[in-house]
Every structure is written in structure tokens, then in C-alpha cells.
Symmetry: C2
Subunit: 210 residues, 2 copies
Amino acid sequence: MNQPTGQEDKVLSTEEKIKEAARKLFTQKGFAAVRTRDIADEAGINLALLNYYFRSKQKLFDIIMLENFRKFLHIVSGRVLDDSLTLEEKIALLVDIEIDMLTQNPDLPLFVLNEIRVNPNKIAMEMHSGDVPGVSRLLAQLISANGSGEAPQMQPLHFLANLIGLTVFPFVGRPMLQKITGVDEDAFYKMMQERKKLIPIWIKAILNCS
Amino acid sequence: MNQPTGQEDKVLSTEEKIKEAARKLFTQKGFAAVRTRDIADEAGINLALLNYYFRSKQKLFDIIMLENFRKFLHIVSGRVLDDSLTLEEKIALLVDIEIDMLTQNPDLPLFVLNEIRVNPNKIAMEMHSGDVPGVSRLLAQLISANGSGEAPQMQPLHFLANLIGLTVFPFVGRPMLQKITGVDEDAFYKMMQERKKLIPIWIKAILNCS
DNA sequence: GTCTATATACGGATAGAC
DNA sequence: GTCTATCCGTATATAGAC
């Protein structure tokens, strides 16, 4: 979880322990299905401390939700913002970063997609203020590519649905896909690594065929 | 909802009213976030009747969950089982049926995928007994196609992830996709209709490019 | 079958000692 | 900062009249 730091994560403060436990449980089960007692147990702390550090269950959840949401959307930030890259290079980079992120946070997309549907209001603001950093530029680049002869018309919605669907969906549907195909967890994650190279190729093929 | 029946759905029995209300709310919000009072209000019946007809909230939920799960998986049944169809024909038919089903039940996939993750045990049985009717045959057909020269190797897991991802994901991510692209609900569902023709073409392109 | 009233349990939150 | 004990609202479920 905290790989970049040199020290291993056993020296968390009480507040951090609560937050990490809350993140784990809320992300897996959602707000209503988690009891504050579960969080306290998971964190190995006393129940009263939860309210001491974070006034209420709701406040704690809001913090986790915002952080999860940012992490999910800000995949496309920093490096991918550089406009020197071609559309194809951006796609390859984006898929690479996103699959790494999803491998480390496999429960994130289901949580976020659920919250967006249940709670469109809280989310809308974040969606516009952050503006999903690189995505608008990516779509602009797609549209200008539409103009040139190389690849014909492709609606931004279809393009995004394809790109995110191919990249994110396997993680959302992992238990189902494993059950149907009989692939174990190790093999599954190895195949997700393969997809880093495959998806950009597939996306290109899709763009060239309408 | 009950389109095949000639009569319109205002003449539901009390039991059916409760079940329909429960289906709607549970599918949207999940078990923990729904109160029995919400279901009673939505159904327009007295709270005590819920326990009279379905012993408990949990029992009622189990019924809904099982039905939702079957509906989601049995997309691939009946017509698609016919083995006279080629792989390409099956894909086109499957995508067509699935998009129609998802258009009428847009909350279904998120509910089912959530439940599978939270509750893998209850689900496993259903997954084997039903064996996701047409899918195993579809995959067998894919593998035999791998053998012939036409299309090279494609792992079943990649194939399924692509097919389901392209078809199902847009519905799971609809609110997000609409927000990012600015497409309204009407236009969104029209584009889903377009995808009935596009996805089979894209899948073919993907199969031909590795 | 349907209602009102109520028992009972559970979960979020706090008071107050240490 | 951390603990124990407890309060209190809320939600499920049932008893019993009609």
C-alpha cells in the first residue's frame, strides 16, 4: 500500500490506522454495509477513537470517497498531460498507468462507479473542477484525428467507452471472468499485464475499421 | 417491465407489489442501504405485510438477488444456444440481446457484479449449476477457430473481457461517460443502439489483429 | 389479508474516568 | 489520547385486533 516510503507500514498513527481500515472496508462494501465497529476492529483500536478523530461515520466516509474518486480519475494526470505525445502514445501510456493502478486497487472502480450513480451531486463538482485532467485534451486530439484522413469518424463516447471498458472492466468483472474461464488469480493478473500491450493495438484496430 | 403480458401492470397482487418495489430499491442501492419501510412505501402497502409474505428482509433480498443474477447471466440462453450459428453470428446475436436487456435494466450489472464480489459463495453454486448456458459453447467455438488459420490465438479470458467489457461497461459507467462527454440520456441510449452493429465489427477486427 | 401498536435488537455516538 | 460504560435513535420483526 505504502510502497514508495522506505519504512514498512507498521508505524501508523492511530488516525492513519483508522483511515486505512475505513478505506479498505468502505471500498469493499460501501457506506451502509460497514459498521463503525467493523472499522474499529479492523484497525485494532477502540470504537470511541473513531469519533474522536473523525466526528462521525459519515465524515470519515466522505474523506475516503473523495480520495478514492480522485485516485480513480487522476490516473490521467501528470505525464499524460504532456501534449508532445501523439494520440497513440497517450493511449499506450494511459493504459499502462491505469492497469498498474487497478492492479494495486482492484476494488476502486466498482466503488467509484457505484458512488457516482448513487450520489451524482457530490461527484459532479469534483468532475468539473478537476475536469478529469487529461481526458478533455485526449478527446480533442481524437477529434482532430477524425478530421485527417487516417482514421474516420469515431464518437468520443464510443471511443471512451471502448478504452475504459477494455481497460477497467476486467477488474470490475474479475470474479465472474475467473469463474467462467477457470483462470486463477495469478494467471489473471499476468493477463492484465499482457493487456498493457494488447489494448493499444486493439484500440488502433477499432479506430481503423469504421 | 412486464411487456410480454397483454394486461398492463396495475393489477398486481400485494405480494407482487412488494416484490417489484423490493427489486427496484435493492437493485439500485443494495441490501444494507434499503429499509423495509422504504420498500413498503414504494409498494404502497403496510409494513407488516412485508414480513407476512416474505418472512424477513433477508429472505426477500435473496429472492431478488437470485432472479437478478439469473437474468444477467441467462442473456446467453435459448436462441444463442443453437449450434448452427457461426461464431460471428453468435456474437452479433448475443450483443443485440444483451444491449436490449441492459437498456431495460440499466442497474442490473452494477448490482450483480457487486454481489458477486461481496458474496462469492452464494453465487458460485448458481454459476456452476446454470453454467452460464451458452458461454461454454461459445468459448469452445472460439478455441476451435483459434486452430484454423483464419484468426490467431486469443485467450478465452481476453475474448470474454473484451466482449463483455465493450457491451456491458457503457451501462455501468453511464453517468461518468455522460458527464465527461456531455451526451444526454436520449443520445446515450441511441448510441447504445449503434453499438449493436459496431461491437461485432470491432470484435472481429480485434480477433484479426494479434 | 390487512391494520395498529409494540417488543427487541442493533448501531452510531457520547460522557466521563484514567 | 485512550478506555469503559451507556445513551438513544432507528430498523426489523411480531403480537394481536379487526
